[in-house]
């Protein structure tokens, strides 16, 4: 039960870069492959995940002392399911067109490993405010991942950004194909690995 000693900013930055859910932890890949044909989808699903992550982290952090350890996983699942139902109904009511496009993925946020994992490793050991900042960081990190994959695929696939035509032509139509999600994620992961390798090499040289 070691509470974290990180400051709030560190918690947020940790979620976005050091432990980015998509590129570093490789969790919750399904929407990263299936839904990233445009930036808009990434933003919407990202904000839904952000919402669910923050609220369920706070809920669990608030009630952590009354949960019996043996039933903690079902408790997490039901907490997440409740908040997913809330965001599901909100999206269906206010943005029906986009909701239609995202289809089943909003409901499937329940099964995203990243949320449960954060509850298990962070929220059940820390205060409500720390959990809030951690949830915020993870949510933004997820959104960042989704948007960056969406950006690459939309730009290369249909030559647009957020629906506006910027290139005037379609460089690689292949990238809007559903199957290209795998390639895109794979290549971007490799890119992140490469950046890390270069960064570490430079560090060594300085020493």
């Amino acid at each position: 039960m070691a509470a974290t000693k990180k400051t709030n900013t560190e918690l947020v930055v940790n979620g976005i870069f050091m432990e980015n859910p998509i590129f570093r932890l490789a969790l919750s890949m399904c929407p990263a492959v299936g839904l990233t044909t445009s930036i808009k989808n990434g933003l919407l699903l990202g904000s839904a995940v952000l919402f669910v992550q923050i609220f369920s982290s706070c809920t669990i952090a608030a009630i952590k002392n009354v949960i019996h350890p043996r039933i903690r996983i079902p408790t997490y699942t039901l907490t997440i399911a409740t908040w997913v139902t809330v965001i599901d109904l909100i999206l269906a009511a206010y943005v029906p067109a986009a909701y239609e496009e995202m289809g089943i993925f909003v409901k499937l946020i329940v099964a995203f490993a990243i949320i449960t994992m954060r509850l298990e490793t962070f929220a059940c050991k820390n205060t409500v405010s720390a959990s809030f900042w951690d949830g915020l960081g993870m949510g933004i990190g997820f959104m960042f991942g989704m948007v960056s994959i969406g950006f690459v695929r939309e730009l290369l696939g249909s030559g647009t950004i957020l629906g506006y035509d910027v290139l005037g032509f379609k460089p690689l139509l292949f990238f809007v194909l559903p199957a290209a999600g795998f390639f895109c994620v794979g290549i971007m992961m490799a890119l992140f690995n490469y950046i890390e390798v270069v960064y570490n090499r430079r560090k060594e040289r300085k020493q």
Binding site: V33, I104, M189
Partner: protein, 321 residues
């Protein structure tokens, strides 16, 4: 092991045909009608037990056809033809009919040899077993949950490093999938829908999944400890798999019947098993390959999965029945 198989798996096989008959049911409810079925893309054939009067049989006004789902929209009939032996009629429509939907044909007072045999309301639908088979193959290949719907990827990439574990996970997953899908179907049809609690879908279905994982865990531990030792470790991972939740949601959305749900669950499970097996075979081979260091591990696995996904796009044109 063999005794167990004999006891638990093979004995209830005689039940299957009984269930099939029960669920397909009988489509014809009038003694004068022998058979009714879809003929071409835009006609329905009705076979009679005797010869109907020609004036009655060829009069378009005597037939009313609509989809079972919306009885208010009558399909427009272009003409009704009597077959040469005068024992069957072809109802032809102006437009193509959607054969996936069950249709209802209503016949106004049937006349045969001057007698009025009363009205008849007939259900017509596609061959049920064919329908079931196409759902099974559809979930397994055409709409493979991993390669064409992109679900369950976390577990898929986590577990596909070795062939043995991949097969173990696939089998465990299929069992839990079928159990939880059937329970979810039951709850949805008999509790959630009648009481207007549709919005609780997510909460109830994920509860069902946890429950069936726990149930399979307990049963397997008691019944077959050897099997439990082999597959028990994968049980926890099943909950983290989106497919296990996607299937109940799909079958609730499409209003599938019990057998159709069973087929969808089975197809989703075996499809996942197939995907895991293919992927683990490829990844075992990749272990020996000379891969650039930045691509080692997950990135190359993603690229491989992309190639598989491209290959699976080829199934999209597959039409059965």
């Amino acid at each position: 092991m063999r005794a167990l198989m004999k006891r638990s798996i093979f004995r209830p096989i005689w039940l299957l045909p009984a269930i099939m008959v029960f669920f397909t049911g009988c489509n014809v409810e009038h003694p004068f009608i022998k058979k009714i079925a879809f003929k071409d893309s835009n006609s329905i054939i009705i076979e009679f037990a005797g010869e109907p009067d020609q004036d009655w049989a060829t009069d378009v006004a005597n037939y009313k056809v609509y989809e079972k789902r919306d009885p208010d929209v009558l399909l427009s009939i272009s003409q009704v033809l009597l077959s040469p032996d005068k024992r069957a009629v072809f109802i032809q429509f102006d437009e193509e009919i959607n054969q996936k939907e069950p249709h209802v044909v209503s016949l106004a007072s049937i006349h045969s040899q001057g007698k009025d045999l009363g009205t008849a309301l007939l259900n017509v639908k596609r061959l049920y077993i064919g329908e079931l088979f196409s759902i099974l193959i559809g979930a397994m290949l055409i709409n493979n949950f991993v390669f064409t719907k992109y679900l369950g990827l976390c577990v898929f990439f986590g577990i596909s490093k070795k062939k043995n574990t991949a097969v173990g996970m696939g089998i465990t997953f299929t069992i839990v999938m079928v159990a939880s899908a059937m329970m979810s179907w039951f709850l949805y049809q008999f509790v959630l829908k009648p009481y207007g609690l549709d919005f609780l879908q997510v909460v109830v279905f994920i509860g069902m999944v946890s429950l069936s994982v726990q149930a399979v865990d307990t049963v397997l531990r008691k019944v077959n400890p050897a099997l439990f030792k082999a597959f028990g470790v994968y049980l926890v991972l099943v909950i983290a798999n989106c497919i296990i939740l996607a299937v109940p949601l799909t079958l609730a959305d499409n209003e599938y019947s019990a057998l159709e749900s069973l087929m969808l669950a089975l197809g989703a499970g075996t499809g996942f098993l197939l995907a895991l097996f293919l992927m683990s075979s490829a990844r075992e081979r990749l272990e020996l390959a000379n891969i650039p260091p930045t691509y080692r591990g997950l990135p190359i696995a993603f690229v491989t999965a992309g190639l598989f996904a491209l290959a699976f796009m080829g199934f999209s044109g597959l039409v059965i029945f």
